[in-house]
């Protein structure tokens, strides 16, 4: 820690000038020149404002880090002790108190929130599912998968096409889509899982693109870029449309006036229960042999093999389970949108899901839930800044990598009470 006290204004001014020059170079061509047809006009005013803001900001930050408070702040964040910790054997997670409250609030949301908020929260929950699925593959098993969106697409198109060609509804497609995605995961995984790191990332990236291109180009089957409509879930056969083709719709059965919010409430409630179930399974998996094997594989594959673990099958199980979660998320996405087309399944989507996992903290369940909401709900809330979405996304990532490279929530491992040792 720097022991020198007092604020050195000279240095701060120097910092501010350097930052200003950099801003001039970066923003000069972008903001300072306005294209106008074949002509262009200079906009020195805008440029001056931006540069002034940057210089002022840099000056304030520079002064701040020289103050006592700022120095303490830097010191705290310079210490990288946010790695993995093992909890004491008798440690009781605060989650035991928080979780029931969250569940109650979660169940009340559809009855108090407006339709708009509800749709945003549904989207958030879909990304929670996606994040949890990818977290198994990337966070636990350490396999960099850049084509996760492929499994999401399989789930979504599974529902839409299954309805169109086979007349299967939401409830039958939910498990079938999970199985289909898992099988796709196995087909992709078996030949490529002998690869490591970068190679695997490239192959999976290709896989995601192949799925999207097939969906786009196989027009006879998938209707290509025009997309397909997807059915809504039914409540014991009651539909949520204004008019039902067969039987009575939900609102007539209960004698309620038609309101399109009912279908979102219903989708939300199912999704909420599914997310809770997935969270529970995820929680159990990390305490099961298979979950430990995934993490061991991430740590050291060679050591795993020397202990009798079939690394290909262990990786494959992670890949399949992650994929099936992605497939379930896809079904919810399709039913919530009522329509799917290939443009929802671009590489940017894969990158977003990966960002959720990295931001949340590799392997941390709570972190993934928080990050999923931050990254999906925030852009909705800040609609006015929609143009800057990707920019803000980038800034967030850079800031995170500097301050919390291991994610928002630090990973804890369960401690075990000492026992009397014995061998059978």
């Amino acid at each position: 820690m720097n022991q020198q006290t007092g604020v050195n204004f000279g240095a701060s001014i120097k910092d501010a000038v350097i930052a200003g020059l950099l801003a001039l170079i970066v923003f000069g061509p972008i903001v300072g020149v306005l294209l106008d047809g074949y002509d262009f006009s200079a906009r020195p005013g805008d440029l001056a404002t931006i540069v002034a803001v940057v210089m002022f900001g840099r000056f304030v930050i520079s002064i701040f880090v020289q103050s006592d408070v700022g120095r303490k702040f830097l010191y705290r964040h310079a210490m990288k002790e946010d790695g993995v910790t093992v909890t004491a054997p008798d440690y009781k997670s605060k989650m035991y108190y928080i979780l029931p409250i969250v569940i109650v609030i979660g169940l009340l949301v559809p009855f108090v929130a407006t339709k708009y908020i509800l749709t945003v929260v549904i989207l958030g929950l879909i990304y929670v599912l996606l994040g949890l699925g990818l977290n198994i593959v990337v966070g636990l098993a350490g396999l960099l998968d850049l084509g996760f969106v492929g499994f999401y697409a399989i789930g979504a198109y599974g529902l839409a096409l299954g309805y169109e060609y086979l007349g299967l509804g939401f409830w039958s497609m939910l498990p079938i889509a999970a199985v289909m995605a898992a099988i796709a995961g196995a087909i992709l995984g078996f030949p490529v899982l002998r690869m490591h790191g970068d190679y695997l990332a490239i192959v999976t990236l290709g896989f995601g693109e192949i799925i999207r291109l097939v969906l786009t180009n196989w027009t006879e089957f998938t209707h290509g870029p025009n997309g397909v409509s997807a059915p809504l879930p039914t409540l014991f056969g009651l539909e949520f449309q204004r008019r039902s083709r067969e039987g009575t719709p939900f609102h007539e059965f209960f004698g309620l006036p038609f309101d399109s919010a009912y279908k979102y409430m219903f989708v939300y409630l199912i999704l909420f229960v599914v997310v809770l179930a997935v969270l529970y399974v995820k929680h159990r998996l990390t305490r099961m042999p298979i979950g430990r094997a995934w993490e061991a594989l991430r740590e050291d594959e060679i050591a795993c093999r020397s202990l009798g673990l079939n690394h290909v099958l262990v990786k494959l199980s992670a890949f399949m389970l992650g994929a099936s979660t992605g497939g379930i998320a896809g079904v919810f996405f399709a039913t919530y949108q009522g329509f799917v087309n290939p443009s929802s399944f671009t590489f940017f989507e894969s990158a977003l899901i990966l960002a959720i996992v990295v931001l949340g903290g590799m392997g941390s369940t709570l972190g993934v839930v928080i990050a999923a909401f931050v990254l999906t709900v925030m852009p909705e809330m800040l609609r006015e800044f929609a143009d800057y979405r990707v920019l803000m996304f980038g800034i967030l990532m850079v800031v995170m990598m500097i301050w919390k490279p291991r994610g928002l929530v630090r990973v804890t491992r369960k401690g075990f009470a000492t026992r009397k040792g014995a061998v059978k």
Binding site: G83, V84, V86, A88, P89, Y280, V281, R284, L285, R287, M288, P289, I290, R292, A293, E295, A296, E299, D300, I302, A303, C304, R305, S306, L307, G308, L309, N310, H311, V312, L313, R413, G415, F416, T418, R419, K420, G421, A422, V423, K424
Partner: protein, 293 residues
């Protein structure tokens, strides 16, 4: 099959491109013995281990493991190339396809051979106890359903695994570190943990690659007595690579000396001590000059 020898290595050859790391290595390891593989740096000792444990596919020769009441050919379980005769014999063909798809070094461990590594390979970001639980993967209840529902049979199996893990922690004197991250342990502790982890897979023979490297004399002494415990109380055959001659001569019943990928001597400690080829190899290695024998 020979019950007396747990491991039979015959004419083992390993080439890396033009480098001939092993030339025709032949030796047998007796069941219940403590044997040592010694030789100067670069002699090919670790390469022998990697072939035995299936991490390298031997260029030639055979490795037979007589453990678990059956004979395992290490070369075969790694998945061999198809031969012409396979296309006539469907059973042999099916077996080869099976090993090609699902074979690998993990089968060598399941057949009863465990190992440690010269450069320690622990699961650093997992706790010490979890390292030992992973090693018991093949013997615990692995059903997804019972694990997710946390059934009684699952709990019992986990409890048994924990007890076994704590047993081995006691043996290697690491009980108080059970809930620390493996990566946080000191070097000597990590070496001991790695031995405990291999022992958790219930091997009949354990191969230790330089277990005493980086240990001080009293720790080396403790290690030697631990190795005796492995043999005497757990009927485990021990094969170790070691540079500490004091320890090797002290604990081993049988020594194989390797130099430039060839076995230059094998026998009891006393024979080896007085063998002129061995002395020359070691002196030659130390002074960096060629000694022709």
């Amino acid at each position: 099959m020979s019950q007396e020898n747990i491991l039979e290595v015959e004419n083992l050859v390993m080439h890396f491109g033009g480098i001939k790391a092993l030339n025709d290595v032949t030796f047998n390891i007796k069941r219940g013995s403590v044997s040592a593989l010694i030789g100067p740096n670069g002699a090919g000792k670790t390469t022998v281990f990697n072939c035995l444990t299936g991490f390298y596919k031997a260029t030639g020769g055979s490795i037979l493991l007589n453990a678990g009441n059956k004979q395992t050919s290490v070369v075969k379980v790694l998945g061999e190339k198809f031969k012409g005769s396979d296309f006539i014999n469907p059973a042999a063909f099916a077996e080869r396809v099976k090993y090609k798809m699902f074979g690998g070094s993990h089968l060598v461990n399941r057949a009863g051979l465990a190992r440690t590594f010269q450069n320690i390979r622990l699961f650093k970001e997992m706790s010490v106890i979890e390292n030992l639980l992973v090693a018991q993967h093949m013997s615990v209840q692995r059903s997804m359903i019972s694990g997710i529902l946390n059934t009684a049979s699952f709990k019992n199996s986990e409890e048994a695994a924990l007890r076994k893990a704590f047993y081995w922690l006691e043996v290697v004197h690491l009980t108080e570190f059970a809930n620390r991250l493996a990566g946080e342990l000191s070097y000597g502790q990590q070496r001991r943990l790695e031995i405990a982890r291999s022992m958790c897979t219930n091997p009949e023979i354990i191969c230790l690659d330089e277990p005493a490297a980086g240990l001080n004399p009293s720790e080396t002494e403790a290690l030697a007595s631990m190795i005796r415990v492995l043999r005497d109380e757990h009927n485990t055959t021990v094969l170790l690579i070691e540079h500490d001659m004091g320890m090797v001569m002290n604990i081993s019943d049988y020594i194989v000396v390797l130099d430039h990928g060839e076995v230059i001597a094998k026998g009891g400690p006393d024979d080896i001590k007085s063998n002129p080829k061995v002395i020359a190899a070691y002196l030659g290695a130390e002074e960096g000059e060629e000694v022709s024998l």
